[in-house]
Subunit: 242 residues, 2 copies
């Protein structure tokens, strides 16, 4: 539980500027946002909001990992989004949360009070434009995920998940790729619509088949990215590492 001071003091040294809601803002607009923002840190495992809660803020993930999920009355649950740094939480114009948001690791958020934020979006087209882009990107991602949930096999699901992680978290290692999984096996199963046992078995199978190398349970190396791409079952047209 390393307590690091992740909260930047001002927007000028903010690590997520390039991708965040404020990426296009002028200095002046940033000042506006600066007035209504506040940072807050959540412990790993803690809940940020629960479905049905009144939503008084929107926020950007500054550091750490959070999940967006929905559960059924009998306890079945499905993760519907993975929130990494620069991702946006909340929706202007809605009073209550439609999903649960949970901190998976220690999590730092840059909050904006909702009311004043809505005022800013109405007057600042830079923010509004970026908001549309973010929403549409998430929509594409959600739909891509629907294909995974509806039609892919367990092995393909795991491979697809690893690819997503590789794209956003991986670093080159020789001709392969190295990354640390942001989720436990349990969270992975929630994300992929599987059980933890199936996740474990398929990870073992991919390891056995040489698609990946495990070091502990979280650190993995992918010797051949194209091999993994095949396993994911996607049309491999133009899919590359960012």
């Amino acid at each position: 539980m390393t307590q690091v001071d992740l909260a930047p003091k001002s927007c000028s040294n903010c690590p997520i500027r390039p991708r965040a809601i404020c990426s296009r803002c002028t200095d002046e607009e940033l000042n506006e946002l600066d007035k209504i923002k506040y940072y807050k840190t959540y412990a790993a495992g803690s809940s940020v909001v629960l479905m049905g809660d009144p939503m008084t803020f929107v926020a950007s993930v500054v550091a750490g990992v959070a999940t967006l999920s929905r559960s059924m009355a009998d306890g079945r649950m499905q993760m519907v989004g993975l929130l990494l740094p620069s991702d946006f939480i909340g929706r202007p114009g809605r009073e209550t949360a439609s999903f649960d948001v949970t901190a998976v690791s220690e999590l730092t958020l840059c909050h904006f009070h909702k009311k004043p934020f809505e005022k800013v979006t109405q007057t600042t087209s830079h923010v509004q434009e970026r908001l549309i882009e973010i929403a549409l990107d998430e929509l594409d991602a959600a739909r891509e995920w629907m294909l995974l949930l509806g039609r892919k096999t367990a092995r393909e699901k795991i491979a697809s998940f690893l690819l997503i992680c590789a794209r956003r978290l991986g670093s080159r290692e020789g001709e392969g790729l190295r990354l640390e999984l942001p989720l436990t096996r349990d969270a992975m199963s929630d994300y992929l619509g599987l059980t933890i046992e199936t996740v474990s078995r398929q990870m073992a199978a991919l390891k056995r088949d040489g698609v990946l190398v495990l070091e502990g349970t979280r650190k993995i190396t992918i010797p051949d990215l194209n091999r993994l791409l095949d396993e994911a079952g996607d049309d491999s047209d133009g899919v590359t590492l960012a």
Copy 2:
């Protein structure tokens, strides 16, 4: 193949105004949109756009039903959206289509050339606001659907689908509810992440159990909506007919 003239001549008598992209527009703004719009009708079964195609337009569904889907190299496919009248197709700021759009019934679209449409959104905050709302609504719907695809049983999937249809297409019939399904069994299976056989069997089971009454294959009556709600497995908090 009844060829009806569904295309309104102008926005003033447009059936989808209240929900469409232009719902908040002033008369003046409507005139702007009017200049760049054109209607077009597609035959049932025909393709509107294919994934990867250059997207030169955006559009609203005026009449009929279309589907948004994605398929894998080996033919598996998953529908990721159902487009009913007033729904929006396309995304400003993207060059190529990310999904296939197919007309399921005869379909009339209100098209806007993309370039000029983008110019309008940049200057007309009414359109931009509505676009955000629509995108976020679809995102919510997509995430709801992820729960269905990842965690629900075949029976629950069918019940959930019928509920969605009932909400948007149903009409009261005594104390029950009557509707005509907008999709074939085959399209239903694509939507629900099932096979056509499973859809057929579960429809038969729901009929056998008295949850619904079938008249032919498309016309159904739901005697007791709460019964159907139970079958769908949703938290039934506050779910009502629109």
